[in-house]
């Protein structure tokens, strides 16, 4: 029983990492007032570039850096379209997603089925490793956990956080106070892209050290739902990512009784069920998305 529980917890922690990283990124992007639907594509691009670089240089950390930079660069395109050129953010995000999937699919073909020698290291953490399920994990498991807490702190306890949230709520007021709305938004969008890229790097260098097209498996889209579920709060994002990961792992236990294809629909049904509870709660408590989410800022 104990090993079963620690097994479930361990797999949940490992599975939730890319979901958590991408969600944390999207929370920052949306808090600054920009919607980026291209996460899946950026994650796929990040996974491929990370794998290609780690494979070529036999060093996983080069891969991590390159994957983050590639996805951050892709996000820069979205930032350019949606912030500077004030284009529709839904369409811009979708085209970024398409581009990311396309480029990773075309350039990645030569890396399909290659075996990666240089994978991300697995650590035993002092103290933590005595908890069930925490015995030893990929370094990203700990990093993403710490990052969630850190990003919560920045968003709600520092001046930077106030600036980011204000830009998403009322950019005109921020502009009047001398805050450069574009700079804040650019920074957040690129930051969100980097995190999506790191999520991809974790997938191709740690979780399943290989590259195959479609290995992101919809995690990027899930993270968009999770961002709403988390009320745009990194700590709730942490809770949500682990909750979704846990439900996903538990659903595998029924594989003997229910077909895997039907179980595969669960990760996409959970968010809808979760959101149906949460959104009414949010309406009662008057918590909503950032007021200027999806609205390009234009100085009048």
């Amino acid at each position: 029983m104990g090993s079963l529980i620690s097994g479930i917890i361990g797999r949940t922690l490992a599975y939730s990492v890319p979901l958590l990283l991408a969600t944390l990124g999207e929370i920052y992007v949306e808090r600054a007032g920009v919607l980026n639907l291209g996460i899946e594509g950026m994650m796929s691009l990040g996974a491929l570039v990370a794998f290609a670089v780690a494979f070529s240089f036999s060093n996983p950390w080069f891969g991590v850096v390159a994957g983050g930079m590639a996805a951050g660069g892709a996000a820069l395109l979205h930032a350019l379209c949606s912030i500077t050129l004030r284009a529709n953010q839904v369409v811009s995000g979708l085209s970024l997603g398409m581009l990311g999937m396309g480029i990773s699919g075309v350039l990645g073909r030569n890396f399909e089925g290659k075996v990666l020698g240089a994978t991300l290291p697995v650590y035993r953490m002092p103290f933590l490793s005595s908890l069930p399920g925490f015995e030893k994990h990929n370094v990203f498991v700990y990093l993403s956990l710490g990052l969630a807490v850190f990003l919560w702190f920045v968003l709600f306890r520092t001046r930077w956080g106030i600036v980011i949230r204000s830009v998403g709520e009322n950019p005109a007021a921020c502009d009047a106070m001398g805050i450069n709305v574009s700079t804040v938004r650019y920074t957040c969008v690129v930051f969100g892209g980097v995190l999506a890229g790191l999520a991809g790097a974790y997938l191709s260098l740690g979780y399943r050290p290989s590259w195959s097209y479609g290995m992101t498996g919809g995690i990027g889209w899930l993270s968009i739902a999770l961002t709403i579920f988390a009320f745009w709060n990194p700590l709730w994002g942490l809770v949500g990512a682990y909750l979704f990961g846990l439900l996903y792992q538990l659903s595998f236990r029924f594989q003997a009784h229910v077909s895997p294809e039907l179980l595969n629909t669960l990760p996409y049904v959970f968010p809808l069920i979760a959101l149906s509870f949460v959104s009414r709660l949010a309406a009662r408590k008057r918590i909503g998305p950032p007021a200027s989410l999806g609205v390009p800022y234009k100085r009048e």
């Binding site: 979708l94 968009i224 739902a225 996409y268």
Partner: protein, 371 residues
């Protein structure tokens, strides 16, 4: 002061000539940029362009393949135009199309209807299936306050997994051995093709009808007017006494249903069976978003834009076959076209005015201020 030869004036509505120029320009730019990609892959860009154009327009067969792919895009694009006019972001045409395909396949394989009723039933029930998938997202938005972007996105994956479940499980064909698809449909459930081509005639007509019906709904009906008001802002719509929930349900019903018809058309006109979702759809649902967008959500424009993207798909197919590039090359072309298009969005609101000799051109100026 003398008038300059070319002036640029700002206007409030997109100008038709700019829409055309910008659309063509975006495609050209996308091609120039993809040239880098081709050289990176070791293919001489002009050679790639030649193969692409040949594959899209170069022969009777190529043109027919382009039109074959244009049909589902036009059906989906027309519906999405109506939905985008109401600012309802239906990103779920992919899933709605697959549900239509599932329902159509059920009718074809298991309903045992008399043969003259088979095809009509497939289309009607397929429409309703896709519409149901869409209306569910509308219900989530109206009753549960869940954004339709999220719902429709998630439902895409649910639908794709449903198809996989059916073709690997209960509907797996008895005659197909190890493959994952259903038995072929009875011949009565096949759509007739146009001459020697692979273009299903019925869906071609349905697509053209859908385009005009959507256009009429938008321009000539009260509902169309209401939904455009909703699209301009919910606050004003509410003040005008418009039932927003009803409008959202209607556009999701229509756009979902048309996607459902596209799904029926693919399985009964092309594949004659239910098979892997990636084979049924080729990304028509997402490409339909671009098709509607490039047409500025005008259903009549969808006729042109769906042809363009049909050409991109069949040209991309030729690239895939000739150079052995993965099929995702189409996503790159689509993504680039869309990116250039939206990046140049602001340009649409300008108008180029040429000076005609000594004519006074002032009346052509819309009096807007260039900002």
């Amino acid at each position: 002061m003398r008038e300059p030869i070319v002036r640029i004036a700002r206007r409030l509505e997109p100008s038709p000539e700019m829409v055309f120029l910008v659309s063509v320009g975006s495609v050209i730019f996308a091609f120039l940029v993809s040239g880098f990609l081709f050289s990176f892959l070791g293919i001489f860009p002009t050679e790639a362009y030649r193969v692409f154009l040949n594959g899209a327009f170069g022969s009777f067969y190529a043109l027919s393949e382009t039109i074959k792919r244009m049909i589902p895009l036009a059906l989906i694009g027309a519906g999405l135009s109506v939905s985008f006019q109401a600012s309802v972001w239906n990103i779920g045409a992919e899933g709605q199309m697959l549900i239509g395909a599932i329902v159509g396949a059920w009718v074809a394989l298991f309903s045992h209807l008399p043969s003259p009723l088979l095809l009509p039933a497939m289309f009607i029930l397929g429409f309703l299936g896709g519409a149901f998938w869409g209306v569910f997202a509308a219900w989530c938005r109206n009753k549960l306050a869940i954004n339709e972007i999220i719902t429709t996105l998630m439902l895409n994956y649910v639908a794709a997994n449903l198809v996989l479940y059916l073709i690997l499980g209960p509907w797996k064909g008895k005659t197909v051995r190890g493959f994952a698809y259903t038995d072929p449909f009875p011949k009565e459930a096949w759509l007739a093709t146009l001459g020697a081509t692979r273009i299903p005639l019925a869906t071609l007509l349905l697509a053209i009808i859908a385009v005009f019906v959507c256009y009429l709904i938008l321009t000539k009906t009260t509902l169309g007017f209401e939904l455009r008001v909703v699209g301009r802002g919910e606050k004003a719509a509410r003040l005008a006494g418009i039932n927003i929930g009803r409008v959202v349900s209607f556009v999701m019903f229509l756009s979902g249903g048309l996607a459902g018809i596209a799904g029926v058309g693919e399985v009964s006109g092309i594949h004659h069976m239910l098979r892997h979702p990636a084979h049924i759809s080729l990304g028509y649902g997402f490409t339909g978003v671009i098709v509607a967008w490039i047409a500025r959500a005008n259903p009549l424009g969808v006729l042109a834009s769906s042809f363009l993207f049909g050409a991109l798909m069949s040209g991309g197919d030729a690239l895939k076959v000739s150079f052995g590039i993965p099929f995702q090359v189409i996503y790159i072309l689509n993504g680039l076209v869309l990116l250039f298009l939206i990046a140049s969005d602001q340009l649409l609101y300008y108008r180029i005015i040429f000076r005609h000799g000594h004519q006074d051109t002032r009346e052509e100026d819309y009096g807007g201020v260039v900002d």
